[in-house]
Amino acid sequence: MDAFTTLTSLAVPLRMANVDTDQLIPARFLKQPRSWGYDTALFHDLRRDEAGVLRDDFVLNAPHWQDARILVADRNFGCGSSREGAVYALFDAGFRCVIAPSFGDIFYSNSTKNGLLPVKLDRDEVSRIWRTAETDPNGLLTVDLERQHVRLGDGLTFGFEIDPFRKHCLLNGLDDIALTLEHEAAIAAHEVTLADAKPWLAK
């Protein structure tokens, strides 16, 4: 996967809670292979009215935000279905970081496997970023994974937590499988013990 180190970008304020993965990508777009690109599916039905025309009142449709790579949303972002297509859609549309007070667990995990950094901040901090983005739309936000902080244009800095191994993989763009196979001996040993203790499971 692509590495994530630091990122400085406009941050789109998306004042919505419980943004579920069906909103991020409606299920009918999930049939396509990843290589086709998932960008046009992102928020497909929220962005458009019944006639399929882009809505003026959906923040991501404003030309100003077209190059933004950070999305700042409300609590429980990415709840719902486990579809990794939700992450593919954000990534393919250029996003590399989502900031929210809380995330759906599976979405959070899927993000870290695809070079999309999920950042959990307190709701007050998220509010502050929204207000800044709305009052100073040209203000840039910097996300520094190594230092584990988010910095606003005025220098205000918010720290965030991330599992050290997830951080290591993101910083270096590493995939899990090869690293896990370094534990091959332990996995094989577990299988031997298991076959002995619960022989019926292998039937």
């Binding site: 419980n18 049939k31 667990d105 599992d163 191994f165 896990t180 019926w200 499971l201």
Partner: protein, 480 residues
């Protein structure tokens, strides 16, 4: 590690016991590599197979994965010609992946086919004490057996296929105790909707839920699966219920369950899994079973569940401006006026199906309401599995539904997610036994009201959201 590892005599939760017996390695930060006993795959798992192909890897333990066609299969027939070419291709692609990797497969048309979370338990592949994963968030269903079962994304599915393991941060455990007796007409669906409404759609975020208490114990396995199924709608990574006589009796004699001396060993193991009496939980919540009413959702989050006797809430009653605006937008999407009694809301369709509510108990409850009555809106019944379909037909449930004007279909996910083409039209209001009322979940512009199977049948025969307690018993002279 977030907490010290317990010594041999430290009391443990059920989660901790399963965690400890599946931990293969631990790394900095505390994530554990857990061995995966069972992996279920479906059509949507194709990304994972693509990742494997791209990396030139193969499946480590083909015997521990089961592929089942459910999400994309047509339900009007078992003929791929009844699906669009794109959809038929999704079903065929699963078969191809299974054949190439030599994985067991229940394809469309097999007697064992059904929704993955219905079939695993039905076959006895789902057992207490196991770690079970699937690229589907409702994998939490299998926790009803006292297994640690959770949904994962495509990258993780590829990881499981290649290594038979998964990295997991140690979750916290939240115990939800529901004590007392459930009132007439109150089902497992109402229990879980009430739990979600009380703790919120992210109330269990970062936690595994353990359901306990006399009302949970009194549920059948079908009911327990309904409860655990919707753990994800409360933000929980998984949901679990300790194995007991109900669990053991359900499992005995199922195809993948051991017999003879192995059965004895298995049963002893399963009975030892319950959380120790003095185990401590990271969080606790309680619900009095007697206060739970037949429930229904009004909005686009499962936390928007209220007793069916309630009215549509009023955005102006909320102090927070953002929350008030969000509620107003939800009501606009749902086509509802604040203050309207829910029982006055007309519906356009009823759907009885999904891994939440399409097991035999659910179909019986819906049939009891449908019997001797007549659906006044299009109503569809999609059994959770082909075996359940056969069992229901053996009891004559199909005839009851058909005489009442309900369509009786083949098994699959169907209108739960709509990707097989079974959808509601934009603006249509659906009384649905499924698990998600998200915008567009049942088709672009569709409006979903979640409820239990008897409630959905009641809505079908009255044409509006209905308090099922007002309908029981069926009109005199029409019962046999």
């Amino acid at each position: 590690m977030t907490r010290p590892s317990p010594g041999p005599i430290a009391p443990r939760t059920m989660l901790r016991k399963i965690w400890d017996s599946h931990r293969v390695a631990v790394r900095d930060g505390g994530e554990a590599l857990l061995y995966v006993d069972r992996h279920y795959a479906h059509e949507g798992s194709f990304h994972a197979f693509d990742i494997l192909k791209l990396q030139g890897r193969s499946v480590r333990r083909p015997d521990l994965t089961l592929c089942i066609a459910d999400h994309y299969v047509p339900t009007v027939s078992r003929d791929a010609a009844d699906a669009s070419p794109e959809i038929a291709n999704m079903v065929e692609q699963l078969s191809e992946n299974a054949r190439r990797e030599n994985l067991p497969l229940l394809a469309m048309g097999d007697a064992g086919q059904g929704i993955v979370h219905v079939v695993g338990p039905e076959l006895g592949m789902t057992q207490p004490g196991l770690v079970i994963v699937c690229g589907d968030s409702h994998t939490s269903t299998h926790g009803a057996f006292g297994a640690l079962a959770f949904g994962i994304g495509a990258s993780e599915v590829a990881h499981v296929l290649a290594t038979q393991t998964i990295w997991q941060a140690p979750p916290k455990v939240m115990r939800v105790s529901v004590d007392g007796t459930l009132g007439a007409g109150v089902t497992a669906k109402d229990v879980i909707l009430s739990i979600i409404a009380s703790i919120g759609a992210d109330g269990a975020s970062g936690h595994v839920l353990e359901y306990a208490g006399s009302a949970i114990r009194s549920l059948s396995m079908d009911g327990r699966m309904t409860v655990c199924n919707m753990s994800i709608e409360a933000g929980g990574r998984a949901g679990m219920i300790a194995p007991d006589d109900t669990t053991i009796n359900y499992l005995r004699g199922r195809p993948y369950v051991p017999t003879g001396a192995d059965w004895e060993a298995a049963e002893a193991d399963w009975r030892s899994l319950a959380s120790d009496a003095d185990a401590s939980f990271d969080r606790e919540a309680r619900l009095d079973a007697g206060t739970i009413a037949p429930s229904v959702t009004w909005g686009n989050s499962p936390e928007d569940a209220v007793p069916v006797t309630a009215s549509v809430p009023d955005p102006s009653s909320l102090d927070d401006e953002g929350a008030s605006a969000a509620m107003a937008a939800t009501l606009e999407y749902m086509g509802l006026e604040a203050g309207t009694r829910l029982v006055d809301v007309p519906i356009d369709r009823a759907f009885i199906g999904s891994c939440t509510n399409a097991r035999l108990d659910d179909l019986r409850a819906a049939a009891e309401i449908a019997k001797g009555r007549r659906a006044v809106v299009p109503a569809v019944v999609v059994p959770g599995s082909t075996a359940i379909k056969a069992a229901a037909e053996a009891e004559g449930l199909d005839r009851i539904f058909e005489e009442a004007g309900f369509e009786w279909r083949h098994s699959g996910c169907s209108m739960c997610v709509g990707i097989n083409g079974d959808t509601a039209a934009a603006g249509e209001r659906v009384a649905s036994t499924t698990n998600r009322n998200f915008r567009g979940r049942q088709g672009k512009g569709s409006r979903t009201h979640l409820m239990g199977p008897a409630m959905a049948a009641a809505a079908a025969v009255t044409g509006r959201i209905t308090d099922v307690r007002q309908l029981v018993p069926a009109p005199a002279g029409q019962r046999d």
